[in-house]
Amino acid sequence: MSIALQTRGLKVALGGHEVLHGMDLDVTAGHWTCVVGPNGAGKSTLLKALAGLLPFQGQVLWQGRSLLEMARRERALALSWLGQGEATSLDLRVLDVVMLGRLPHQDWWSVPSPADHAMVEAALKATQAWDWRERSLGELSGGERQRVLLARAMAGNAPIMLMDEPLANLDPPHQVDWLEQVQCLKAQGTTVVSVLHEIGMALHADDVVVMDKGQVVHHGPCDHEATRRAMEAVFEHRIRILLADGQWVVVPRSA
């Protein structure tokens, strides 16, 4: 199995405090890797460092190449990013928002090509947001906006997709839709790395990275017992992971 992203001795400091303490991580190409852990574990910081959005020490390697040596546009073509609470202005049309995902593919003065339009349409249809294409983000609910923003990230068609809390504001049926979209992306060969708080959803991933206090405490496939035990331990055994109807489910365990 080839490695899509690697970190070696990755350290990140925020506001003078070290948040990640020398992490080594290998993300398998074509897999969906989910990062879980308690609040403040450094999950989002790790994801931002993987995307090259934060200054860091150590190395982040994309297919063996240092992220820092790649040009801005080259990095944007390789890595697609979906952050938390993205949209700050709600005036843009849905179509224009999703077209922003194609910026790395366009020359500075060029207008969107037919290929750009086709990708935008496909992404909007995949997230079932095509019908709102002429509306502005401000006219949509939080969950609908999230689907548009997911379409924006998908429109970039990057080989690696990094998503920070992509299920925020999504109702259960649309969380299931998101799961199906991730499976589709995987089928196309896309590597997906996501930070999720919904542990039940995270258990559908191929690999889980369990983090605590800025370090990886476990990294392994979901179907390994050790992975599930590590997840229970990192949440201080306040949750239990059980098998029900052939699926792993998370139930709270009272103190």
Binding site: R73, G83, T88, L92, L100, L103, W108
Partner: protein, 332 residues
Amino acid sequence: MMRTRPAPFWALVLLMLGGAGLVLGTAVGSQGWEVWWTAAQDPVMQQIVRDIRLPRSLGAWLGGALLGLAGAVAQGLFRNPLADPYLLGSASGASLGVSLYLSLFGGSILATAWLPRLGMTGAAFIGSVLAVVLTLTLARGVQQTLRLLLAGVVVGVVLGALASLVALFEPQVLQAMQGFMLGSTSFVGWTSCALMAVALSLSLIVAVALARVLDALTLGEATAQSLGMPLRQARLLLVAAMSLTTAAAVAQMGLIAFVGLAAPHAVRSLVRCKHSGVLLLSTLMGGALLLLADVLARGLLAPQDLPVGVLTAVLGGVYLLWRMKPASEGRS
């Protein structure tokens, strides 16, 4: 409000409004409405129209266009609908420049002789640019938006206080400063028009070229960066364009309130488009608004010449209050 008309339609409407404003502007004189085309053969009237009314009207349009553009850049760059062109302290810097000039060299803000005129314009321009440089220094660059906004507020307050202090020690400056603080187009000539046209052209090219960065910034800093946008360089250029436009307008006309704030809001209430459209339309909207306000200011109480800044403050304030209603009823 249904925003179904496309941007080119509104561009045409605003251009026509500007054109109508120019025609009206040349028909308002010191005695009120004096329609020049009925006395087109009168050489005195020709000279009045050519040397006073036309540059003043064109200057009002250019000044409004500068402020409209600066407002659209500020609101896009700082991702804040309350951002206005004076946000980085340029207004207070210009006020301090003018008050220092008046206290050192005397004279009236309404002086038309070219030397004092140039001196005051230069003082306002230098004050405005230095204030922005001071803000950028305090904020240690343009990278951190919040730090930049805070630095702008601090510089604005401190330089404003210094300008007041100068006026306190030199009471004769106080009256002269009034004209500047209220904003007026009455001393705009062809030289001012040329300066403003150059500043507008340069800034518009820079802003429209970087419109896609402003679009990307609507999705937040991290996402814009992930899309490969050159944020640092773009910010620097956009702040420079915003400062140039604001300084050029303030230096020629004093402090005109609300145009920079209201023009982008008015555009967004008419049409939903990307930043390239918002920037261009805000320019046209700012021009039309200030020119029409100037025509009103000259004609309303003629022969009394109302400072146009007073009128834009009143009209702009009423407009923004009216705009707040649908905004507060919007979907969360």
